[in-house]
């Protein structure tokens, strides 16, 4: 029997090393750590829960089936986000995606379908009024993100939702640093314009 380790406290590189030894709990730990960020990135790119689930699965299967090729000098998260972005962009290129609100897919006919295709914005323990305002702004910004070009969308989310540096984003998306800065600048401007009505 393999020795029991507290995987939750190990850095990514150590968990990957255990996964490379065929330890299933290490695979589970990697999934636990990154399923939400990866799913969120993809969902905000494709705006469809089912598709996002399929693409997130594809991302993890690609990464975990090739975990032996991982080189510890790179961040695992960068590798994951790079693949997640690639699968999402490939998907968007293959088909034109409808822009939907966070209230559910436009194709949803029944209440159950609306619930299945909508997503929740978690409460952060604010007052009722703050929560309403926050939800309003949250919904508005989700809608504004949905209207951005996919390239802007991935850049702005990696920068401000995932907190990545410009250099990391450039490496992840295989884009020149200047292009990443331009995309983020334009995305911020478009978002600012889209949210202007909420501030007035």
């Amino acid at each position: 029997m393999a020795p029991v380790l507290d995987l939750a406290n190990l850095p990514d590189a150590d968990v990957v090393a255990l996964a490379q030894q065929g330890r299933e709990p290490a695979y589970r730990e990697l999934l636990r750590r990154y399923e939400r960020p990866v799913f969120s990135l993809i969902f905000r790119m494709v705006r469809d829960r089912e598709t996002a689930e399929d693409l997130a699965q594809e991302t993890f299967i690609k990464v975990l089936n090739h975990i032996d090729r991982y080189r510890p000098e790179f961040k695992l998260s960068s590798w994951l986000f790079k693949i997640a972005n690639n699968v999402a962009i490939d998907h968007l290129r293959k088909r034109t995606v409808d822009t939907i609100s966070i209230d559910g897919s436009p194709h949803a006919a029944t209440r159950a379908e609306i619930e299945a295709t909508s997503f929740d914005v978690e409460s952060r323990g604010e007052s009722a009024l703050e929560e309403v305002e926050s939800r309003e702004l949250g919904s508005a910004i989700e809608r504004a993100i949905a209207r951005l070009r996919p390239e802007y969308r991935s850049c702005i989310m990696l920068r401000h939702v995932e907190g990545r540096s410009y250099e990391e984003i450039a490496a992840m998306l295989d884009l020149p640093l200047g292009t990443v800065k331009t995309y983020i600048h334009r995305a911020r401007k478009e978002l600012r314009d889209a949210l202007e009505h909420l501030r007035t």
């Binding site: 029997m1 393999a2 490379q20 030894q21 065929g22 299967i61 929740d120 978690e122 949250g138 501030r199």
Partner: protein
């Protein structure tokens, strides 16, 4: 600074850049309500982005992924795991196991050393043993042939050497095939 900030300069402040270049920008923002308002608007957008929650995938997402992942266990890890399976979990058991494994390793080492030192004697003994086994097998085969075909046929096969042995082998294989075909034909007829 006698002009408003450029969008790229607002970005610098938004990203929290520090250094000599940003100092005059910060001074200007403190004095200019237009630029200050613009920077605050940009900051509000960034704050809204940073407060976006991570969305949860469906509950069985991890299981679905793992069911399609080939978890490869390298041979040395598998071997170590197998070994670990033999190690008892109790402390006393582990000590006993360690003593036993140590003793066995010591005996094996001595044995290997002894064999290495007397390699010529070992070779001689192995050669003798192989010779005896070969003679025994030939005698048994001769006895079987003599019993099955009779002494005269055995003598004939033996005197004709390799050719005789080949003819005998072909004849035996042909007889076996013929018998199998006959049995199959009988079985097919019976089934009808």
């Amino acid at each position: 600074m006698d002009r408003h900030l450029l969008p790229s300069e607002i970005d610098l402040l938004l990203d929290g850049e520090v250094g000599f270049g940003t100092s005059p920008l910060k001074t200007h923002v403190r004095k200019c309500p237009t630029c200050s308002g613009e920077l605050e608007e940009a900051r509000a957008t960034v704050r809204a982005l940073e407060h976006l929650p991570h969305l949860a995938p469906p509950p069985l997402f991890a299981e679905r992924v793992l069911s399609r992942v080939n978890i490869f266990v390298p041979w040395h890890v598998a071997a170590l795991d197998t070994l670990r399976g033999f190690v008892p979990s109790s402390r006393g058991g582990r000590v006993a196991f360690g003593v036993g494994a140590g003793s066995l390793a010591a005996v094996m080492s001595v044995l290997v050393l002894w064999i290495a030192l007397r390699f010529d004697a070992v070779l001689f003994a192995v050669g003798m043993l192989a010779d005896r086994v070969r003679t025994g097998l030939l005698d048994a085969a001769g006895t079987f042939l003599a019993g099955a075909l009779g002494d005269s046929a055995y003598t004939l096969v033996r005197s004709s050497g390799l050719f005789g042995l080949a003819v005998l082998t072909v004849a035996l294989v042909a007889a076996a095939l013929l018998a199998a075909t006959l049995l199959r034909t009988i079985a097919v007829h019976r089934r009808r």
